[in-house]
């Protein structure tokens, strides 16, 4: 009974936040964006109800974001002069905290794996939660900051490589945390955190070397409500595939006597890989379809064999093949694990390589 009370409370809270946004910012939204807002309230409420810790994560992130908005007092200059904004709650600082916490979590997870003391496992999990909270708050604050730059510059922070890398770290860690709780094992953290930290490394390099954290206005093609659903859906796919590949690495290691002492049994790893790829596949399919619908509106055709489109298709074909492969008896096991690791390479190329090496319509995050 008590849990249900919390569930309703959470949904009510989200509804109130949604109503607040709707009443205050209605004039900036079109009908689709209103629909997206309503859908988000419903979706996040559902997630909070299904997954108790998500509630606390959500409330913590939004509290930080609101605190930051309060401290800004409508003046971007505050990020330099206000102590809390400068070191914790401006979007750049929040994201910096995220980039500090993920490497820490990685170290503690590995320590935990060999020392096997629950305390360290819980500490590492806590670190990942904290990093996710900072990532979410950072993105929310950045969203707000973009409107402080100029009203017509304001946009959801999923428009360039810097922003989507933060999004990637966030989504990958949330997906991991969900399964960590569901499968009751923290032993995959050491592996999953590797891929998240690789993204953190890129993000840091990109920030320092290229000044990528500057908020830029949107080019005309990106000014669409589609961005709010296409990009996040895509990154749920990317995130799930990345986590799946790291679980596959653990799977391959379990063949070895040394690692068997430290890792969960093969069946659990196999099951987890499947579920990750399955959820990734659904979201990636939806994202690609939404991308096609958007392309039909912005570029004049739902499919133009643009490099990004083509690589999205290749990623999709790869995981479609993986799902078929899993149904062939006798072919499961190591081949599947290798295939999923190869899938990460293809995914990475689609996500990053296309922007780095190929040119096309979809060149929104160039180096």
């Amino acid at each position: 009974m008590k849990k249900e009370m919390y569930d309703y409370g959470f949904a009510l809270l989200l509804t109130l936040v949604g109503l607040y946004a709707l009443t205050n910012f209605y004039s900036y939204m079109d009908q689709y964006e209103v629909a997206i807002l309503v859908g988000s309230v419903a979706g996040f409420s559902y997630m909070g109800i299904q997954w108790n810790r998500f509630k606390y994560f959500f409330i913590a992130s939004f509290t930080l974001a609101f605190l930051s908005i309060f401290l800004y007092q409508g003046d971007l200059g505050q990020s330099e002069s206000n102590f809390f904004l400068k070191y914790i709650l401006s979007s750049q600082s929040a994201i910096m905290w995220m980039t500090a916490l993920f490497p820490l979590a990685l170290l503690i997870y590995w320590f935990y794996l060999f020392v096997k003391q629950e305390f360290y496992g819980s500490l590492a999990t806590f670190m990942v939660w904290a990093a996710s909270i900072f990532a979410t708050a950072g993105l929310l604050i950045r969203w707000f900051e973009s409107y402080l730059v100029d009203l017509d510059v304001g946009h959801i922070p999923v428009s360039n490589l810097y922003e989507v890398f933060v999004l990637f770290c966030l989504i990958a860690s949330l997906i991991y945390l969900f399964y960590e709780e569901k499968l009751q094992t923290k032993k995959l953290g050491p592996f999953v955190l590797i891929v998240i930290n690789a993204a953190v490394g890129f993000l840091l390099w990109y920030t320092l070397a290229k000044n990528a954290d500057v908020i830029q206005p949107l080019v005309p093609a990106l000014q669409s409500y589609w961005m709010k659903i296409h990009v996040p859906a895509n990154f749920i796919g990317y995130g799930a595939f990345a986590v799946a590949a790291m679980v596959s690495v653990a799977y391959l290691l379990t063949g070895n006597g040394f690692w068997n002492r430290y890792l969960p049994p093969k069946e659990i790893l196999d099951e987890m890989t499947y579920r990750l790829i399955a959820i990734g596949f659904i979201f990636f399919t939806i994202a690609t379809i939404l991308g096609a619908v958007w392309a039909a509106e912005a570029w004049g055709g739902y499919w133009s064999w643009d490099p990004k489109e083509t690589w999205a298709l290749i990623v999709w074909l790869n995981y479609a093949a993986w799902l078929h492969l899993r149904l062939i008896k006798g072919l499961r096991g190591n081949i599947l694990a290798w295939w999923s690791i190869g899938g990460l390479l293809i995914t990475t190329f689609c996500f990053l390589g296309v922007n780095l090496f190929l040119s096309g319509l979809h060149s929104y995050g160039e180096l």
Partner: protein, 634 residues
């Protein structure tokens, strides 16, 4: 061909083949392929249709095999799937139940079949009851039939999407081209001269055509680029561009492109007035019109050609983008080809740390082609830009399109105009004034007449040397005439002398023209140095003329895309089916349950089966058993 292994191979092959077109840039002008690959590879690649690989016959054939394999798979499995959905496996034999992986027994006190049946129904099972061996009870239950429908949904979806894509592909044209009804036009020529064979009628049911529309003009056909040529697509309407507008953010980056269109139906004359912009297309008569890009529409430019090496008055030239002007210079015919004009130019300027995008104003591009056909490319900005805190007029030159522009920087005078530099270059080329200046400077350095006259002659020679070829000339001179160890020292002296003379010329000018404010700088010698550098660099500019943009009339052209895409509906329908299907396959738990109770027994036997027996299913089995146990405990 319908086996799982074949399906996986096909998925992989399509994936691999798709990579080609992302690595090799598609649909580029064929000349650029020849330059990149050389004749041999160019021809080989062309034979394999690698320049438009996604329309290549062999690629379509692979796709066809994928679809055929999927179709076979669907048609072979669907009857079985439907049968499975309908069927309760009531005729299962007891031995096979005993061998069931999840078989277990539950003891119960007071068994009542109807209770169990309604419990199972509450748990979303479909239930059927039966007597076996004449006296024992068998309950067959199952759930999650949609999981199996998911299979049909996803695979049908792939077929439907492919068919939709095929409808929007160019198969029909390929056929017509093969039998000779249609032909790709290879030569650029006026639309009226293009043969009917290269026209596609309005009845063409699917196309993606482009249209470049100049402000104030109207067109009723589109152009479809195909391979290294094009086709003309007749449209059911004409489109006129009333106005094209670009809006900018405060930082200068483009914010929106907007075309104000008048669309007039050819048959009934109905007129539609509508603005379109990126992400906001317009659909008329089944054709959707998109804002895709923009370019110059033939802006008119009023230019001043300033001869850098003569004191003659600048030459006025009326030019227009996409037009060319011929000028005879030193008995040489030069062709000035104007190629582009841009009103806004966003450049990252400012100091290293504080670089930010700034609009530096209009520029234009032109080529100067000589009689041999050689051409240099120029890019000239109208207004001076701030560099290191000073204002410079900028014009870039390059010999080939592959190079970066090298910029000639001409300092702006105190009024931010070109006038000061024009005065400057006339002063330094004015022998009388230069002689006067050198004599005065020489006199100041030495009171001995003989010495000062010698000095003056030397100064004059050095300055003449500079005027006729810039610092490069001076360097050559020093290289030839001065011993190595002294070169640096001599060069320093020479530069000082040149600067001194130039400064003196400007001071004299100011004394003679006291009303002129051209050189009202805090430190005019900075301007002098910049002007000397600019003059010296001009010898590498490849043209005697600095072209000043006096004023212009901006005429824009909007790039539209016109799409007719009947396959879109089917692609979207297939997409919806695909998502639903995947969802069913992954998230619906398919399960079958048999419960047997021997007559009079205190136990029931449970057996489970599913087509996907993974960990999730094991959990499901445990849950179900627990629920049944709990039910009988109460």
């Amino acid at each position: 061909m319908s086996s799982m292994r074949f399906a996986i191979s096909m998925l992989s092959v399509v994936g691999l083949a798709s990579i080609i077109g992302t690595v090799l840039q598609q649909n580029q002008p064929y000349e650029s392929y020849i330059i990149n690959f050389g004749q041999f590879w160019f021809e080989l690649f062309e034979m394999l249709s690698l320049y438009n690989v996604y329309q290549a016959t062999w690629f379509l054939l692979i796709l066809f095999f994928l679809v055929a394999s999927t179709s076979l798979c669907v048609s072979r499995n669907t009857p079985q799937v439907i049968k499975d959905i309908r069927r309760f496996q009531e005729n299962i034999r007891e031995e096979s139940l005993k061998r069931n992986k999840y078989v277990s027994e539950i003891s119960i006190k007071n068994f009542k079949k109807s209770d169990l049946v309604s419990l199972l129904k509450d748990m979303q099972f479909k239930v059927r009851e039966k007597k076996i061996n004449g006296e024992d009870d068998l309950i067959v239950a199952k759930k999650g039939d949609f999981q199996k429908l998911g299979y049909i949904f996803t695979h049908m979806a792939i077929i439907i999407i492919s068919v939709g894509g095929l409808m929007d592909g160019n198969l029909v044209f390929k056929f017509k081209e093969a039998v000779g009804i249609k032909k790709i036009e290879m030569v650029d020529k006026p639309i009226s001269e293009i043969a009917k064979k290269s026209w596609l009628e309005t009845s063409n049911f699917s196309y993606r055509a482009n249209m470049l529309l100049v402000e104030g003009e109207s067109q009723d056909v589109g152009v479809i680029p195909v391979k290294d040529g094009y086709l003309i697509q007749d449209l059911p309407f004409s489109v006129a561009l009333k106005d094209f507008k670009i809006e900018h953010y405060a930082s200068g980056q483009p914010k929106s492109f907007e075309s104000d269109l008048i669309v007039k139906n050819k048959k009934n004359g109905k007129v539609l007035n509508k603005k379109i912009s990126v992400n906001k297309p317009l659909t008329v008569d089944g054709v959707t019109i998109y804002q895709s890009d923009f370019q110059d529409g033939g802006s008119k430019l009023n230019l001043n050609l300033i001869d850098l090496y003569s004191a003659e008055k600048p030459l006025a030239m009326k030019a227009a983008v996409f037009k060319h002007n011929i000028l005879i210079v030193d008995e040489q015919k030069l062709n000035f080809e104007f190629e582009d004009f841009r009103l806004f130019n966003i450049l990252d300027i400012g100091l290293e740390e504080s670089k930010k995008p700034t609009n530096v104003g209009p520029n234009f591009r032109h080529k100067i082609r000589d009689v041999t056909g050689q051409a240099r490319e120029y890019e000239t900005y109208q207004h001076p830009m701030v560099i290191d805190g000073r204002y410079f007029f900028m014009s870039g030159m390059r010999n080939t399109p592959q190079e970066d522009y090298r910029y000639l920087r001409i300092p702006a005078d105190a009024e931010r105009s070109l006038e000061g530099f024009m005065v400057f270059k006339n002063l330094i080329r004015d022998r009388k004034k230069v002689t006067k200046a050198t004599v005065e400077i020489a006199r100041n350095s030495s009171e001995i007449k003989e010495v000062s006259r010698n000095l003056a002659n030397n100064f004059q020679a050095i300055f003449d040397n500079f005027v006729s070829g810039g610092y490069n000339n001076i360097a050559l001179n020093i290289d030839e005439n001065v011993p190595d160890e002294k070169q640096e020292q001599v060069a320093g002296t020479y530069l000082k002398i040149i600067h001194l003379i130039a400064d003196r010329l400007i001071v004299d000018f100011q004394n003679n023209n006291s009303t002129s404010t051209l050189f009202n700088f805090d430190d005019v010698s900075v301007f002098t140095q910049d002007a000397l550098n600019g003059y010296s660099d001009s010898f590498f500019y490849g043209s005697n003329f600095w072209i000043e943009l006096k004023d212009f009339e901006h005429i824009q052209a909007s790039g539209l895309q016109l799409t007719k895409s009947p396959g879109q509906f089917w692609v979207y329908l297939g997409s919806i089916m695909l998502v639903l299907g995947i969802f069913c396959m992954i998230y619906i738990q398919e399960a079958r349950l048999w419960i047997v109770r021997k007559k009079g027994s205190k136990k029931v036997t449970l057996a489970f089966a599913s087509n996907r027996e993974h960990l999730e299913f094991e959990k499901f089995v445990l849950d179900t058993k627990a629920k049944i146990k709990k039910f009988y405990l109460n």
